[in-house]
């Protein structure tokens, strides 16, 4: 179906199901229960999962397939966001023109940066992309303020032209009248589920671009990209010019990033310069590696993982801790809270840092690898125990590019 093998079709259907059911799946705990803190089924976070998922999928097309590690992809994220907000300011709150512009501008920007940076490989390439992105960030923060509104971030003001707006037009981002901020809340038992337009808008786009990336992975083009990663000498002597292939991959992943940036601004009509900073570029690198570079679903998982910690763990404060452990005797309660305290709330990044380390140490190959192992353990597939972290010239590479 859809030009996919049977296995891939099943895979895609599972992904579609999971994506559409996210508002339910991420809300496993009843409202008001102590564990409700861990629910993630609210619009903003779900949107972020989808959007950063798109960002990471795109990044993976470049990094996972060709091995070129870009440290400047946030630049395209930023460009995408600015494009969309400018379309709000000039035309109207309909997100479509902005998204189209976001993809076009980020493609052009990626073409420019990629054309120059791809003259080098390895770490030299990474630093070139980093340099471009950091220049973009620094300029956007200061000198380019007329274009970017600097520190404050680009936003819509009432005196902006908005030439396509009339009195009846919605006053917030929408897709032909479907308001992004609107949600339907459904209460079932103690549970509350929020079905948000914006999320579904992102989710459908995410599914489409996921499908496209699946096709790319399975295409001759995808194989060429993996070949480039393995042996450029052989590539050359086989009569293939690696440059246009890598450039195409770079531009495609830049467009994914631009689309993701555009969607960020479609959900929330603001574009800040920080989106271009190296930390943002680094974040997508981390997402991809954490989930499993070169796998289809890994980067999305990695994105979800990081965003979850950032948004859920940072909000657990001592008060909440005390309420969880209030059943314990006073002294014990205080002791437990004292022990857990450094890892939550303002310590969320400590926890994230520790988890980064654990994942790479114990699950080389990322979360997907971990999932595969658990799956194998359950189904009894693995015949011999793996020895992670073992030094050796050859690391059996995960050859399956599904999951």
């Amino acid at each position: 179906m859809l030009g996919l093998s049977k296995k891939d079709t099943t895979f895609l259907l599972v992904v579609i199901f999971l994506t559409l059911a996210t508002p339910i799946l991420l809300q496993p705990f009843p409202e008001g229960s102590a564990m409700a803190q861990f629910n993630a089924g609210y619009p903003d976070l779900m949107q972020r999962f989808a959007i950063y998922g798109i960002f990471a999928i795109g990044f993976n097309i470049l990094f996972g397939l060709t091995g070129y590690l870009s440290f400047g992809h946030a630049a395209f994220l930023g460009v995408g966001s600015y494009s969309v907000v400018w379309m709000y300011k000039l035309l109207s709150y309909n997100v479509l023109p902005g998204l189209v512009l976001a993809v076009i501008t980020s493609a052009l920007f990626a073409l420019f940066i990629g054309y120059i940076s791809l003259r080098r490989s390895g770490i030299y390439f990474s630093i070139l992309t980093l340099a471009f992105a950091q220049m973009s960030f620094n300029l956007a923060y200061s000198v380019l303020t007329p274009l970017t509104n600097g520190e404050t971030g680009l936003q819509v003001y009432t005196d902006d032209p908005q030439i396509l707006m009339d009195a009846a037009s919605p006053n917030s981002p929408h897709f032909f009248g479907i308001l992004m901020i609107e949600s339907t809340k459904v209460n079932i038992g103690g549970w509350q589920f929020t079905f948000n337009n914006g999320y579904y808008f992102c989710a459908i786009i995410a599914i489409i671009v996921f499908y496209l990336s699946l096709r790319i992975f399975r295409s001759p083009f995808g194989t060429m990209l993996r070949a480039i990663k393995t042996n450029q000498t052989r590539m050359n002597y086989t009569g293939l010019n690696p440059r246009p292939y890598t450039l195409a991959a770079f531009v495609i992943s830049g467009m994914y990033a631009g689309l993701a940036g555009g969607l960020l601004a479609s959900m929330d009509p603001l574009a800040g310069a920080e989106r271009m900073q190296w930390t943002a570029s680094g974040e997508v690198v981390l997402m991809t590696i954490l989930g499993g570079a070169g796998t289809l679903m890994g980067p999305v998982l990695g994105a979800g993982f990081i965003k979850y910690f950032e948004n859920i763990f940072s909000k657990i404060n001592d008060n909440i801790l005390h309420s969880w452990f209030s059943a314990l005797p006073d002294g014990v309660e205080d002791a437990v809270v004292f022990l857990v305290h450094p890892f939550i709330g303002k310590g969320w990044s400590l926890t994230l840092g520790l988890l980064f380390m654990m994942v790479v140490i114990f699950l080389p190959g990322g979360l997907i690898e971990g999932g595969t192992r658990i799956w194998n353990a359950i189904t009894g597939k693995n015949r011999k125990s793996n020895k992670p972290g073992q030094d050796g010239k050859h690391h059996p590479k995960p050859s399956a590019h599904v999951n």
Binding site: G3, L4, S5, L212, R215, I216, R218, S219, P220, F221, G222, T223, M224, R226, A227, K229, T230, N231, T233, R234, M235, N236, Y237, T238, G239, L240, N241, P244, Y245, A248, I252, H394, P396, K397, S399
Partner: protein
């Protein structure tokens, strides 16, 4: 006039004259061996032929076109394929994927973006690749990751990747080094078959005299960067200078 003409090629590395006044004329459809002591400049000459090295002076014409200054992929697109002294394959890819890539390169040229086409739908290409794999007797390894092949198998794979492109000129740098005797014989047979069936011109560099004498129609002996003699295998065998500088007891 030959398919490949090398005239007056010189190449220096610092103080070392790696190639000195090399002239070579390789006739279309022949199998031409280049032999010579270690460090004689054989691999260097090959590197000049494929555009990896640019000689200090001289010209190299392939089918009437100069190959100098062209990128390796352009030279391949002209119809020259190369097998390396240490196998260059796509280690992370499976054997069959390794085979598909040269097939695409042959069909689509140096760059063609089939981003949304599925490989599975490329029936013709897959068939061609499979066929070649069975020719080199590696069908049962089609799903293996190439880097975990044994070295003899890596060589065989590389050769198959070159042959599947049906080049006009095939350059082989010690194609049977490290191969078991039985496989060496198979390879000789394979190359002979290919040569007959497809009429590919081959240039072989090889130290295994058994291979050289089984395949070559003409032999050039290179010594210290310059051709010593060029002749038929029979004459080379008996040539006293060659015996002394190169063959040693093996000639016996």
């Amino acid at each position: 006039m030959g398919i490949l003409e090398v005239s007056n090629v010189n190449k220096r590395f610092g103080g070392l004259q790696a190639l000195g006044d090399v002239n070579l004329d390789i006739a279309e459809g022949t199998v031409h061996a280049i032999i010579g002591p270690n460090g004689a400049g054989k691999s260097t000459l090959l590197n000049v032929l494929v555009g990896k090295l640019i000689p200090d002076t001289g010209t190299v014409m392939f089918n009437g076109q100069s190959v100098l200054g062209r990128k390796p992929y352009e030279i391949n697109q002209l119809g020259i394929s190369r097998v390396f002294q240490t196998p260059e394959i796509f280690g992370d890819l499976t054997v069959i994927e390794n085979m598909l890539i040269p097939c695409f390169a042959k069909r689509d040229g140096a760059f063609r973006m089939h981003a949304l086409k599925s490989i599975a739908s490329e029936k013709g290409i897959i068939e061609k690749a499979e066929h070649m794999l069975s020719d080199v007797d590696m069908t049962n390894k089609r799903g293996m990751t190439a880097s975990s092949l044994s070295r003899g198998d890596k060589r065989r794979l590389e050769m198959a990747m070159c042959l599947v492109q049906e080049p006009k000129l095939l350059l082989l740098d010690e194609p049977t080094a490290g191969m078991a005797r039985a496989d060496t014989n198979n390879t000789i047979e394979l190359l002979n078959q290919i040569h007959e069936r497809r009429d590919i011109t081959m240039v072989i560099i090889e130290h295994d005299m058994h291979v050289v004498f089984s395949l070559a129609k003409r032999i050039t002996v290179l010594a210290q960067g310059s051709p010593l003699v060029e002749d038929t295998p029979e004459n080379i065998k008996g040539h006293p200078k060659v015996k002394e500088a190169y063959l040693g007891e093996a000639a016996a």
